[in-house]
């Protein structure tokens, strides 16, 4: 792995810190200002006795976000991490932040999604406080649910949960809290590739936290703003390939761990009010034209599917395709087996053909997502999670199939 160097700049000095708040690169300057302001306020309100520093890492030399980072007034010291020219990737920039956390000997590192308008001082409290109370990894728990993150709902969450046995609902949720110890593991971990260096970083972080038996907590962060992180519009084929590619690439390295896991376990939850129910709130539904892949020409993928899928999966898929376009039914049990088939194929093929392999999975994912949306049409937001839960149980039940195929 090539070591990437970073330079630092800023008027403030920080040799030591208890808490680091890191903001990865964003596209819109005004939103970054909001996150910086809220972080500053949150640190002063909830951690007044802790030394803190706010760090932004950005590879774009002409970034509007960088300007807004400096012009936003804060009492907390700020630092900018600048990679060498040409270095990009959210994962790479976050890893520099983990190294800086280690260097500052910080006990807590809070990563804030600079794209979300929903960031408030409470996010700082909810992501940071568990780190001073025995937890090593804090994942976000959003109260909004209306199929707002289908890649998470249908691929990343059910796979992570079935494989590694912890129910981290938003494994690529954009805002996290990690302990200084875990930052050290992230900074030095030998498993690293191009997918992790980009959008696969959050999947990598969540997976390593689980597999290092770190105590995990999920913190209630309210609702993310539509169009911000986890919004369906941000879900590009590239993000799909990088996130799912990360998950598949890590599986061979972590097979001694996941082969032992049966079913799944919960985590602790932080940020709930005693005595008050915490219900999911409705969000804008995903736009209907994104429902499925029925308009896509599926013929070019046929050959690869025949290579990758097991006989039962292929026959199940043929049943699904035969009913199109009048009916779209894609059982979660079949979807689980198909993803497990792809995991096996990724191990044996991988390398240069990874992009082709994962691209052939996208139409199937769109079909599954479309079938799910049709099934849940009209279902209240508070009930929608039960459908995701059923999908996850299907993955856990199908895991024996994966174990069997993995031996081939």
């Amino acid at each position: 792995m090539t070591q990437v160097t970073f330079s630092e700049c800023g008027p403030d000095r920080a040799d030591r810190a208890d808490i680091v708040v890191g903001i990865p690169p964003v596209g819109r300057g005004h939103v970054l200002s909001h996150s910086v302001e809220q972080a500053d306020l949150g640190l002063r309100l909830y951690f007044p006795d802790r030394q803190a520093v706010i760090i932004h890492s950005d590879h774009d030399l002409a970034s509007e976000a960088r300007d807004s980072f400096w012009t936003t007034k804060t009492r907390t010291p700020r630092l900018l991490l600048l990679p060498d020219r040409g270095v990009t990737g959210k994962g790479t920039l976050l890893r520099a932040l983990f190294r800086k956390t280690l260097e500052l000997k910080a006990r807590a590192c809070i990563i804030l999604d600079g794209n979300s308008k929903g960031v408030s001082p409470k996010w700082i409290r909810n992501l940071g406080e568990p780190l001073f109370n025995g937890f090593g990894f804090v994942a976000p728990l959003y109260t909004a649910h209306r199929f707002s993150s289908p890649l998470t709902d249908h691929v990343i969450y059910p796979l992570t949960r079935a494989l590694y046995g912890r129910r981290v609902r938003q494994p690529m949720g954009g805002s996290f809290g990690i302990s200084g110890d875990l930052a050290g593991i992230y900074a030095e971990h030998p498993f690293w590739d191009d997918n992790v260096a980009n959008a696969g970083i959050y999947v990598w972080m969540t997976t390593l936290a689980i597999c290092h038996n770190v105590r995990i907590c999920q913190s209630v962060l309210g609702r993310p703003e539509p169009g911000g992180r986890n919004g369906p519009l941000e879900e590009s084929p590239e993000t799909f390939r990088q996130a799912s590619g990360t998950l598949f690439s890590m599986m061979p390295h972590l097979s001694p761990f996941w082969k032992k896991v049966r079913w799944s376990r919960p985590t602790a939850v932080f940020g709930l009010c005693p005595g008050e129910p915490e219900l999911r709130q409705p969000m804008e539904p995903v736009r209907t034209e994104r429902e499925g892949a029925m308009e896509t020409d599926l013929d070019p993928y046929r050959g690869l599917w025949e290579e990758v899928l097991g006989p039962e999966s292929l026959s199940g898929l043929d049943d699904v395709l035969a009913k199109l376009p009048s009916r779209l039914e894609f059982p979660p049990e079949l979807w689980a087996r198909i993803l497990f088939d792809y995991a096996v194929a990724h191990r044996t093929r991988g390398g240069a053909s990874e992009e082709v392999l994962l691209s052939s999975l996208i139409p199937l994912y769109l079909l599954r997502r479309g079938a799910f949306l049709r099934q849940c049409r009209g279902v209240p937001a508070s009930h929608a999670e039960e459908y995701v839960e059923r999908e996850c149980v299907a993955f856990e039940e199908a895991k024996a199939y994966l174990t069997e195929r993995w031996r081939e």
Binding site: R166, R167, Q218, W263, R265, L272, P274, L279, E385
Partner: protein
Amino acid sequence: MAKILIVDDEEHIRMLYQVELEDEGYEVSTAADGYKLLDKIERDRPDLVLLDIKMAGYNGLDLLQEIRNRFYDLPVILCSAYDSFKRDMKSIAADFYVVKSSDLTQLKKTIAMALEGATSSSG
């Protein structure tokens, strides 16, 4: 055999569960409410807790958070006469959610899964 702690404010439920689960070979203890529940768990060291949600003076969902924070890996199954509480995000800190029934088949199956899951994740 595994030790199970039943927390329920209805005596007949405690008795029914105790008899049925002892027949399955489990060692069972009971608590009528959430009073000093964490101390009792610390003392008895159960392998699994069956926790009622609506108890006089106690909210099982709030007790669940306290249990999970202090005994991170202790399996907890929520048992309620209502299925509506599963939509409360607080319930995600439980391993499973079971709607009460006089037929304990589902509950017994769920207990076996929870114990198996706990063993495999600690391995």
